[in-house]
Amino acid sequence: MSDRRRDIVIETQDLVRHFSSGGSGRTVRAVDGVSLSVERGETFAIVRESGCGKSTLARLLLRLIEPTAGTVVYEGRDLSSLSPRQMRAARARLQFVFQDPFSSLNPRMTVGTLVGEPLIVHTGLSRSERRTRVGELLERVGLRAEHAERYPHEFSGGQRQRVAIARALASEPTVLVGDEPVSALDVSVQAQIINLMEELKSDFGLTLVVIAHDLAVIRHMSDRVAVMYLGEIVELAPADALFDAPGHPYTEALIAAIPVPRPGREEHGEALGGDIPSPLAPPSGCRFHPRCPYAVDRCTREKPMLETAGRGRLVACHRQKELSLAGVGAAVAAGANEKALRRFELYRQHAEGNAAGSG
């Protein structure tokens, strides 16, 4: 999919962000030494367990919070070195889509104002030009121009997420960072938004960085995937490779844990035991070792480094070479029952036909 020329849009170096937790004075290691680079035009996904720093990472990427250590480089420039004015300009190019469409739009502003605001800040458009542009943007995300007069609470969750996307697009960004952009939505609406993002990505030449926990969504959308565990990246690989043959035991376990909508399927593998350790006190050595079925002595002591494991894959596991781990597997990948598939296809045709007809 990607050509060989590596054109890095955004890159992090040993990014660290700690929070001191409440009164106890202990430290939450939300992001702990993350290095990654995102290529222009790809969809880069980051997977990690919930409550452990997804949003923090996304905020760091946009410099909405300052890192404890490490750097974020955007288009070759260190974000933290930018002056407030330069930072503002950079923000036009780096946009954000939030997880919760109910809290990400100012309830006191009309949709038109919301979408038009980036235009005021970043462009010199006149009032009427802005109006036109807002209308275009709204239509582009599947709403109608006259929706500009309404307030966010008059919309459903999916529609709000469309508004949020329109707003993000207004300043003509090159990078769109999505923090769980669809996880708050119902499956049916989720599919609408995923489709929309894919379309926009190709239309606007966007680079997408999607942070999510839903592996199915990630598999569907992304070109490359980074899997994080307790603040660190444990594996980074092209999506297909990662799902077909995971390189890290945690990736394997994640894939195995996903319930697949295929009844009567045999249990594959053991469910991952143990609890997610607290980010306040991560385990020594390899952070995954207490739950890892393959853990050996060394894992408890030595921290594995993220190392190349062929074909654009990086893995942080001492036993990476010895293990051969199970991926999504044939049973899962194989199509469902014929009759059902036929109906799905039929449904899709009708649904799109209707949408085209009415749109």
Binding site: D186, A216, I258, P259, P261, R262, P263, A271, R343, A355
Partner: protein, 352 residues
């Protein structure tokens, strides 16, 4: 409207317990309708289903379609002022739960019939020790002393595989992780060996790896106890994993129900089909996902006919005005749609 409602729900008594069942009927909900104060129509409209011992029924549907309300109504846990049960009955052990006195219902709740909620973070009382909270459930329904109740709590903690259970008894909820809390909730629910367990999205708030653990645990415990389980979820993956039977809900009505294989292999209702095809899967080839256009209507926007009509790609005029009857075939597979099977529409050529 209400006449049609009765018709819609009344004609079929939900998924039959015959055939696939291995036990007696535990709960039979028929024609349950609930209306919230100030709303024009019954939000829950003529819901019927049957649950047998040792079996799991999954109630699936999108957010807001009435899954929780249905289960709460059965437990009589809906706020009495805001929600009125307008019709129906819920037979549990030969008694209609909807008509018991408060005292009687309190005796059943937590004893013969228990419930687990969605948010393990908020479902446990933050100011009491988890052990005491479990023991309280025991003490309430069995004539036992404090010590015995605590013993029972400990035993339950062991059964739900809480590591170091003795110590955990004296922890407060916030000291436990989400998965552990949900285990505590399960321990509490099962402490009195209920006949029926209602679990409302027990794993949605959990991480996938933990979700897998909890689901497995619930299955094991159910196998041991032979209780019936009503599991509410919106995740079809979970359904496939755990259900014996499935009921698909949309906007307060059951639109399709049947044994789990049938639902997945032979989905009939356009909503069921739409739901399944819009899910991205781990294995599916990339490309555009199918979608269900629009979003779930609010009770104020319900069309008078089939409530899915506003979003259905196959809808006709009739769908908007007449409620389709819920019809069931011999395998216990039933649905409510004027347009099924949809292949015939395709053959009949094109779309509206």
């Amino acid at each position: 409207m209400s006449v049609e409602t009765v018709e819609a729900g009344g004609r079929a008594n939900g998924p039959a317990n015959a055939g696939s069942g291995d036990g007696a009927t535990v709960l039979r909900v028929s024609d349950l309708s609930v209306r919230f104060a100030g709303q024009p129509v019954d939000t829950i409209d003529g819901v019927s289903f049957t649950l047998s011992a040792g079996r799991t029924l999954c109630l699936v549907g999108e957010s807001g379609c009435g899954k929780s309300v249905t289960s709460l109504a059965t437990m009589r846990l809906l706020p009495e002022k805001a929600a009125r049960i307008t019709s129906g009955e819920a037979r549990f052990e030969d008694r209609d739960m909807l008509r018991l006195s408060r005292r009687e219902i309190e005796r059943v709740r937590g004893d013969r019939m228990a419930m687990i909620f969605q948010e393990p973070m908020t479902s446990l009382n933050p100011v009491f020790k988890v052990g005491d909270q479990v023991a309280e459930a025991v003490a309430r329904h069995r004539k036992v002393g404090r010590r015995e109740a605590r013993e029972r709590a400990l035993e339950m903690f062991r059964r739900v595989q809480i590591p170091a259970p003795e110590r955990r008894l004296d922890d407060y909820p916030h000291q436990l992780s989400g998965g552990m809390r949900q285990r505590v909730m399960i321990a509490m629910a099962l402490a009195n060996d209920p006949k029926l367990l209602i679990a409302d999205e027990p794993t949605t708030a959990l991480d996938v790896t933990i979700q897998a653990q909890i689901l497995r645990l619930m299955r094991t415990l159910q196998d041991e106890s032979g209780a019936a389980m009503l599991l509410i979820t919106h995740d079809l993956g979970v359904v496939a994993d755990i259900a014996d039977e499935v009921a698909v809900m949309y906007a307060g009505r059951i639109v399709e129900s049947g044994p789990v294989e049938t639902i997945f292999n032979d989905p009939q209702h356009p909503y069921t089909i739409g739901l399944m095809s819009s899910m991205p899967t781990l294995g599916a080839p990339k490309g555009r996902l199918a979608t269900i256009p629009g979003s779930v209507p609010s009770p104020f926007e319900f069309p008078p006919g089939c409530r899915f009509a506003t979003r259905c790609p196959f809808a006709q005029t009739r769908c908007f005005s007449e409620v389709p009857p819920f019809e069931r075939n011999d395998d216990g597979h039933g649905w409510a749609c004027w347009r099924t099977p949809i292949e015939t529409i395709a053959e009949a050529g094109g779309h509206a």
